[in-house]
Amino acid sequence: MEAGSVATGGGRSKLERSPLSGLPDKVLRWGLTALAAAILLLIAYFFVRLYSEARPAFAKFGVLGFTFDNNWDVSKDVFGALPLVVGTLITAAVALLIGVPIAVATAVYLVELCPTRLRQPLTIMVELLAAVPSVVYGLWGVYVLIPKLLPAEKWFANTFSWIPFIGGGTVAGPNYFIGGLILAIMIIPIVSAISREVMATVPVEHKEAALALGATRWEMIRISVLPYSRAGISGAAMLGLGRAIGETIAVTLVIGNAPQLSGHLFGQGYTLAAVIANEFGEAASDPVHRAALIAAGLVLFVLTLLVNALARWFVVRAEKTGGSRVAEGMAG
């Protein structure tokens, strides 16, 4: 039987193609390729333009000088971003210390221990934390969190003032701690979601094996789930860190906007993102200031890039070596 004998009412076999029929396919393919290439060019231009605008600042102060000098002085046109970098790191550290354990614990609970009926609603509620915009968290932080936490912060600073970073200055309303706390709340949904995804991929056999050997629920989690998910959870924490570093509006409303190194947790500070938001309207016609702000943006960008690359590496490692972790966990 010839293939060409499959006939339709029109006379030409459905299997034969007219010479032009390949055209829409080619158009689609090259159109989409062009689109992808255009996006790539746009992203490349983004980097290149930012770098070229930031260059005057790096030229004037040196890359290390700009990033690590402790002197952000707008009036004298001297820009050393150390207070900003430190502020960014302090708030991010507080965010991680508070946010990651809670997020991971939440993920463990939702995946392993939660009654089936409650799982959906609770999961949705945790994800809703991500639906609240940054400016609303800032509003809430200024008018609810700061006034309500101030007495507790003052008590804490007084009681534990012998710990180096805790005591040593008056407790200000807006400060590093509140900044970090708000960031912790903002990163919980993303860290929790990714941790949940990672934990859901733990092979059932591993968990059943532990249970079959007589482990309690918690021991099973400790032996089978957590070691297996360790790399993935680290990746999730890194992604949360990336988010915390780049957060602008909520932070600038609650951190005090002081371009200094306050030596204590409850002092006012500044972050790279906040300084850009606050100062770039004024830098339009001052080339040095403008270059400095863009350089700050570039430093911020490079930081998030590094952190995200690290996160990706962790997650990829997790996918590859998940199995061997279980053996480690069982031995431990």
Binding site: D73, S75, G173, G256, N257, Q268, N278, G281, E282
Partner: protein
């Protein structure tokens, strides 16, 4: 199943297409009109819409003028309070129609602005920078001199019952609360006026943070705009901050009586603000500061605030209709506006200054021709 999907997809596409069309019509339809015939509701006499940005110091009076000029001429004035630094920067960059700054442009700023044309300073009103505080039990009128205020902002005077304050306020019970300083985080003409005053009475301030639109504040919380500092003072017990009079009035702040050049402790008021403007000598380009005025009744931290425009608006990039609208705004500011200002405690310009300002506005041009 296919039918359902087809249907669903068709409905979704139709909805999306409607949305796209609506947005495109909205964007293009009003793009074709020049922005000067934009959103003027109500009685559109000459219509038009202009954008300005800058100091928050005069924002209350500019907002009030804006509302009135809309009723009178149908002109919409969009004013954004982004600070004097932002006002000068955006004015220089040409993104707005007029700028506003409390401190006259420095020589460097002037040079940068000459790229687009000849910048003109038009003084609009006099205002006062109050030293506002939020201390339990403290009444209005705490007596403070320049050196003490400087020490408070330097962080040297840390508590409200410090001897330096108590010395000037015999018989007043002072709380032992910590002083929380509220200052600006953005570039501010108000800051420049305030620091000019501080530097006049405190060598430590002069050699330390110095005089500028933004300084390295030794202590305190930074907030954006006069409104932000007002909020900071309001929210923190024991706070002290510097805000324009109108903001202090709005929020019922207790304000300090500040010692002036003649040695009198003066409260900020319309009268003492006007007194600061009397008898000042003003240079031809109208760039001046009235801080630490010599008058006996003058409030020492009062000065004029400026509107910035280019002499030839059209050469600087504005359309003729836009330029005309800007002149309407300036004309209003220097005529009816002067009568409205006192109602919100801004002092009108003294007569010689007013006529000099009017001359400047009369000299504005569009491509060489008078407006």
């Amino acid at each position: 199943m296919n039918d359902f999907k087809e249907n669903y997809m068709r409905k979704l596409l139709a909805l999306a297409a409607c949305a796209v069309m609506a947005i495109t019509v909205a964007a293009c339809g009003s793009d074709s009109k020049s922005s000067s015939s934009g959103s003027s509701g109500g009685s559109a006499k000459s219509g038009g819409s202009i954008n300005g940005a800058g100091a928050t110091f005069p924002q209350p009076v500019y907002d009030e003028w804006g509302a009135r000029v809309k009723d009178k001429d149908g002109l919409t004035v969009n004013y954004q309070g982004i600070g004097s630094g932002g006002g000068v920067a955006q004015f220089t960059a040409g993104t707005i129609d007029f700028g506003a700054t409390d401190s006259a442009m420095t020589d460097d700023e002037l040079k940068a602005a000459t790229k687009k044309g000849d910048p003109v300073h038009v003084p609009s009103v006099f205002g006062a920078v109050t030293v506002s505080y939020n201390v339990q039990g403290a009444k209005k009128g705490l007596k403070l001199d320049g050196a003490t205020v400087a020490d408070m902002f330097l962080g040297k005077v840390k508590k409200w019952n410090d001897p330096a304050i108590a010395k000037q306020n015999a018989g007043v019970k002072l709380s032992s609360q910590d002083i929380t300083v509220c200052h600006r985080s953005d570039e501010s003409g108000t800051t420049k006026l305030f620091t000019t005053f501080l530097a006049a009475y405190s060598p430590a301030w002069k050699s330390g943070p110095g005089v500028d639109k933004t300084v390295k504040w030794p202590t305190g919380t930074g907030a954006k705009g006069n409104d932000g500092v007002a909020a900071c003072v309001k929210q923190n017990q024991g706070a002290v901050g510097y805000v324009e009079q109108a903001y202090a009035l709005q929020n019922n702040f207790t304000t300090a009586d500040v010692k002036n050049k003649s040695g009198q402790y003066i409260a900020p008021s319309l009268a003492s603000t006007s007194a600061a403007g009397e008898g000042i000598k003003v240079p031809a380009d109208l760039r001046f500061s009235a801080i630490d005025a010599p008058g006996a009744k003058a409030y020492p931290i009062a000065s004029a605030t400026f509107l910035l425009v280019y002499k030839d608006l059209c050469k600087a990039g504005k359309k003729q209709a836009q330029a005309k609208s800007v002149k309407t705004w300036l004309d209003y500011a220097l005529s009816d506006g002067q009568k409205v200002a006192p109602s919100i405690q801004y002092a009108p310009l003294p007569a010689p200054l007013l006529s000099a300002a009017k001359k400047k506005v009369a000299g504005l041009q569009c491509n060489g021709k008078a407006l």
